[in-house]
Symmetry: D2
Subunit: 361 residues, 4 copies
Amino acid sequence: MTTPTQHPHSTRRADELHLATIGAGRIGTNHAELVARRIPGARLAAVADPSPEAAQRLGAQLGAEATSAEEVFENPDIDGVLITAPARVHTDLVVAAAAAGKHVFCEKPMAVSLPDADRAIRAAADAGVILQVGFNRRFAPGFAAARDAIVRGKVGTPQILRSLTRDPGPFLGDPMRTPQWTIFRETLIHDFDALCWLNPGAAPATVHAFADALVSPEARAAGHLDTAVVSIRFDNGAMATADANFSAAYGYDVRAEAFGSAGMVTTGSCRATDMTLHDAAGIHAETSRRDTDLLRDAYLAELQTFADAIRHGSPVGPTGAEARTALSIAVAAIRSIETGAPVSISDVLPALDGLGSGAIS
Amino acid sequence: MTTPTQHPHSTRRADELHLATIGAGRIGTNHAELVARRIPGARLAAVADPSPEAAQRLGAQLGAEATSAEEVFENPDIDGVLITAPARVHTDLVVAAAAAGKHVFCEKPMAVSLPDADRAIRAAADAGVILQVGFNRRFAPGFAAARDAIVRGKVGTPQILRSLTRDPGPFLGDPMRTPQWTIFRETLIHDFDALCWLNPGAAPATVHAFADALVSPEARAAGHLDTAVVSIRFDNGAMATADANFSAAYGYDVRAEAFGSAGMVTTGSCRATDMTLHDAAGIHAETSRRDTDLLRDAYLAELQTFADAIRHGSPVGPTGAEARTALSIAVAAIRSIETGAPVSISDVLPALDGLGSGAIS
Amino acid sequence: MTTPTQHPHSTRRADELHLATIGAGRIGTNHAELVARRIPGARLAAVADPSPEAAQRLGAQLGAEATSAEEVFENPDIDGVLITAPARVHTDLVVAAAAAGKHVFCEKPMAVSLPDADRAIRAAADAGVILQVGFNRRFAPGFAAARDAIVRGKVGTPQILRSLTRDPGPFLGDPMRTPQWTIFRETLIHDFDALCWLNPGAAPATVHAFADALVSPEARAAGHLDTAVVSIRFDNGAMATADANFSAAYGYDVRAEAFGSAGMVTTGSCRATDMTLHDAAGIHAETSRRDTDLLRDAYLAELQTFADAIRHGSPVGPTGAEARTALSIAVAAIRSIETGAPVSISDVLPALDGLGSGAIS
Amino acid sequence: MTTPTQHPHSTRRADELHLATIGAGRIGTNHAELVARRIPGARLAAVADPSPEAAQRLGAQLGAEATSAEEVFENPDIDGVLITAPARVHTDLVVAAAAAGKHVFCEKPMAVSLPDADRAIRAAADAGVILQVGFNRRFAPGFAAARDAIVRGKVGTPQILRSLTRDPGPFLGDPMRTPQWTIFRETLIHDFDALCWLNPGAAPATVHAFADALVSPEARAAGHLDTAVVSIRFDNGAMATADANFSAAYGYDVRAEAFGSAGMVTTGSCRATDMTLHDAAGIHAETSRRDTDLLRDAYLAELQTFADAIRHGSPVGPTGAEARTALSIAVAAIRSIETGAPVSISDVLPALDGLGSGAIS
């Protein structure tokens, strides 16, 4: 960190980064553990959650103070926060954290509306803090190698792209309590970011979507959506598809493909290990059943990147502007479902004055 | 064949099937060779082409009579014909062949308009001849195994499907002379059939398409299209994507995926053999550069199936009605490009009275 | 064929090759069908077997004369024979066929002793007929690509090689009736040839073997062997291993690997198709259960090669001398089992005067 | 740890484990970094090396005291040591560490002679300290899954096993300064352990080896060996091969295979990520070039296991007795090279009174 704030009564080591997590749910726990145990030079100083019990349980387990978001923001000994609360409160927490001068790692989505995205970006810009969004795939080794090959020109100009997310089944959630547009704003948002990132320099132009409740058809009447196919046209001519489903019987499935004028890269595999079994029934391999297994290295790398960004004053993203671009595709996809027609990004995305483009260079 | 017509002056063996190819181009040559050399009990009796030189060259090479389509139809010694002429004349040849009592194997597409499709189907039905369409993927071992797994319920109810065609590059055609909607009517028609076939019992309902001239942008103004992404909604809720490109640097690429409530099947690979080379630059494998390499077994199997169908009076398809269904998706995709909006199949496909459904059971 | 013998009363077409199979068992039936149906320009003229019923059944099925080996040799209308009888009579049949002026395709092994191998080679040489041995792996696309990569220097100088054969289980034979050294002389003989062929220009020098009756331990006391691991040292320094087992639960498994100073090639796969199923139990693929499925293309290509060799007078092997080299490894492996010590090839292989080296160039 | 020794003047946290590394070379640095940064609850308290500069450089980098082995042993504040010095001094360090009451993680090989192995085992037993040996493959996810499948009976009774190690090339060492039997005692020792571990309950019985200087033939006269193929017979009938080479052009290659009466498991891959590139030259993937990349997870897991073993008093191995078993195969292989004959393990391995069997249950 360029100018680490040192609290007068702090016993911290001069070179140690103090981070706090806000939200002690499944992903919050995952991130808290990684910070506490696997990020050299970083210390999990505090764990906040609206439920004091949840905070205390996790804090005790990891040797961190159990506290509230408000106290984290007021604590001068905290350098940065990881926002792992439910999606609907992300933006308010980003804004509050930035206002308190904390660097921010925000789980995706950074916002569930474009005005909220603008608020978050503006707050971070005004405060001069780092805002990194949790698009973990960028840090998965295979995805990173794919992007690297694209940047080095190995596939030429991208022409057809694909990204998908299939959450491991069976779906155990309550479809009636899942926010209506979750599949676009929280699931496919990963794919929308990945597609933009794998098509460097291009911006999404037009979006068409199909969606339905195929996993939980009983919730269809209530507007629940658990299966979707989205197609996207980019301003460099490239065309992309993204699909998602809430219940993949075989586990967690995250893949991408980029086809261009000179070749193609593919990445992603559900294989859990390189072990293969051959028996009387054929050839078999085991699958990864959880995102925290399949993307373990990616989670670690994104948090390491956040720590390094604070330390060295060198943010690498994914940035707030990039998250806003991904969100714009989600918003257009939602409007496409509502209207049954393709939707132009320019119709949903007003110009973002003075905050830079979300196009990924 | 149930009642083979025996010409009075024929010297044919009683149990030998006499076939003729109409069209001596690249695929016509491929099919003629397979009939002449690899289909037991079948004989390539004649080769027809508007160019007598082309017919004579191929006929001489394979020991078959060089002739014209008209003479083939008049020749009582011919049991069936393989139509491998340019797409625009397929329907007229199907109708003429059927009228002459010949069984018909027609390369895809069977027709380039729905009225033509109806003409072809009706002609075959009226004449009582077999009409089999050249959707070769159904006969590729991996595709057949995928369909078999679906039929046996291994993936549950299909929810998300994918099919793609990437023709081997560099594109050597003249984009200005390629018929405008070729990518939908001649290329993606394979994928449209594959998607219906991998979603048994369902019918396509709505189609949305993006397309552009990304390989040959200089021909864009003339309406040329060489890259497309199509999304399709089926009446069982399943959603599908199909994509195509005329110039895959790495060779011929044909793949499919079907995801359902109980699992997923994937099929298709560009690998030429199971040989893998590891060297200082990494891990390498060779690709198939031509459809006639990648799908060699499929071409042989579809022609064997046609021969068996004639012999045993047991047609197995792909039928004319199924080809019409695939064509209806192509027609809807073209209209989607023209209008910029999704298109209902019911808006392009009038009821086909008395000719049966194209849904693949 | 350079000088095809034309029988005065023959009705054969001038350019048609007449072949006969001797032995109507499982592989004989496979080869007979391929000649009858899949080799352009070749005709299955006759089928011989000590059992007239077996010959008649196969002959009737394929439209070939049912006869005896003696009549085949006497028939001037036969250009070449395929010897698919039991291994122990191979040499006598090769010698008789050569004496009768017939070109010979002999299933492996060409002989079960080195003096027999010499007899076979000498007979073919004296008669000036082609002698091709049925080492089918050389014609499998992946193996051929591996050899091609080696010949082009892609792996540098071979240093470590591997080849294996696992016959599909369960083992249904009667271990008490299986000839004692079958695993070396009939099974691993394929691997011994493959290893020499993948190490061009080198000759085997020393052989060590382990073997046991692990599949049928009840036959161990009788000397039955169904599992073996052989290591081989070549005169260019390369070291190889070969292993075999009579009962692979997962099907027919044939693979090879060649590691050298510049890289490595691997080939062979039990996958039946490119279809992969993902379900709640993981990732699955089907296996090939029979040699005639896994190596179908290889069987066809070796017979096509034999037909072309006769036609064009251009034999390409595998030659008798190469088969003798493979057999020398089998003989050394057997002696290694008998003595418990490594065995030098020079101790089992006397010089073959005037008949050329078996080293594969 | 059951009864952690607390130094009177220590500032350590009660629950923190203090570890020291002895040897600051390549692997020592790797292990020191993992302890310092990635093992929760463990602290890298000291780094020792005969070269004070090396110790100071690494210590400064990781915030650990730079010291000597002797001081580490005398320091009551150290709970356990990681021995990462050159192989020839491993045993003496194990003995000294055990005498000082330190738990020991010893990089392979634990010893270079069987008497040394006995000394190490006895010293740890007498002192009641944990002795874990660095056979990292056991902790690689694919290898662990393979072993798990074997233990669960998925392959039935093992009959044919394979393990290999190909170090990444080009070979940059000085072959004249590499200890003569390094390929057996330091490289293949991994494979010998893996083969025993993948054949649970069985003991090695007979060993045959071939070896040569194929990478550095100029050092052959001096006895250098860089390529080897070893075959091993186990007392349950299973047969195994192991091979090694010091210069794989394509990177670090570690694989294993276990074939049994009910199936086969394979594990190991040189792929660096799941990214695949298709271009005009074919299909490509990148390889892992270093053991510390390919086996990163395994290195972390074995050190975590050591830390957990100290903490919970529950050692899981690999034990000293298991390391002695692997060494016995290396010793037999060396004698096989010296004599040119197979060697019985019973001839090299005297009974180890009172110290338990090395068979892996």
